[in-house]
Amino acid sequence: MADTANPDQLLVQEIRQGKPDAWTNLIAQYEGRLLAFVDSRLSYGKRGAFGKRGRRAASEDVVQDTFIGFLTSLPNYDSRRPLESWLFSIAAHKLTDYLRREGRRPAIPLSTGDGSSGNWELAGKARGASSIARSGERQGLEADAIAEGIEQQLERWQQAGDWKKIKCMELLFVVGSGNKKVAEQLDLSEQQVANFKFDFLERLRKIVRSGRLNEDVFPDLHET
């Protein structure tokens, strides 16, 4: 059932019914940002030979594949998920395929270790794949719980105008910068960064424990 307050859900519902006007609307709304997303990557640092027009045509081809990919994957699309994010994720896949074909992006082997076990095990944790293997549904619930915990903290900081804490966590966990670099970048002491990080992670650990989730699948929660 579509949420009538959500225009994207209504649009998708009409597309599921095969309505061409709805499909035209979706293309009009999203093609510009998808093209900018793809083009920023294909045009970066490229000059000469292929030419600007050729690169633009290649970007448009990737966007075209994205829209076709959206329609063919529509039965799998959960309309509670933000439409823009779903389209960007399809575009990223199509872009990756294109870059591999062009030889710009190397294929990443799933395992470089000998044998079938791979080399993904976490350092310092004597735990193998089979002991934490679980369903996709379970993994989704785990991600939902952590996302909700992060969102609660972000909302609190945003309401308080505490943008520095948001920047601090984003640099630590999204960019992956170390405490020292974050402290320098945000004009904080390393101790302040460590304290913010501890409080943030402690709240997330509590959520994981109260949800009876396995802490081992969230190695970041034990960062210092």
């Binding site: 599921r16 095969g18 061409p20 499909w23 035209t24 093609e31 510009g32 940002r33 900018a36 997303f37 990557r41 045009s43 970066y44 966007v63 075209q64 829209f67 076709i68 329609l71 529509l74 039965p75 933000p82 823009e84 994010s85 960007f88 994720s89 990223a92 990756t96 190397p106 990443i108 082997p109 799933l110 470089t112 080399n119 993904w120 293997a133 993994q139 785990e142 991600a143 952590i146 996302a147 992060i150 969102e151 972000l154 105008g161 943008w163 948001i166 920047k167 984003e170 640099l171 966990f173 999204v174 960019v175 992956g176 910068s177 970048q185 699948v217 969230f218 190695p219 970041d220 929660l221």
Partner: protein, 137 residues
Amino acid sequence: MKQQFSDAELEAYLDESVSAARLASVEAALREAPELVDRLATIAGRRDAGVHSLGAIWRRRRLTCPSREQLGSFLLGVLDPGHTAYLQFHLDEVGCRYCNASITDLREQHAADDTLASESRRSKYFQSSAGYLAPED
């Protein structure tokens, strides 16, 4: 100077979700450093095995990405200074590709000379995909 990449950045590379400049740096380094391919393979394997990273959840759920309306307000300069500074940080320092793409699109929408080109593209996308448009069972 040899480039250093965090695991979070390499994971974002797998998702195409950091700036084009940083993605190009990773690709250049991958050509020269086989050990970086091993690191990427380890990260990909860890994800496939269901190990979560906070950065991946944050990026995929776009927990700090502004709404389209907020990006519009940012361009118009009507957000409060703290929020404006934060969005500038999100675009430049974090290098969010989705939000940078939206900003580029919003700017281009305001450029009148793009109208004909975009109409032509939209028509092409519709023609090439409409054959897949069918009522679901």
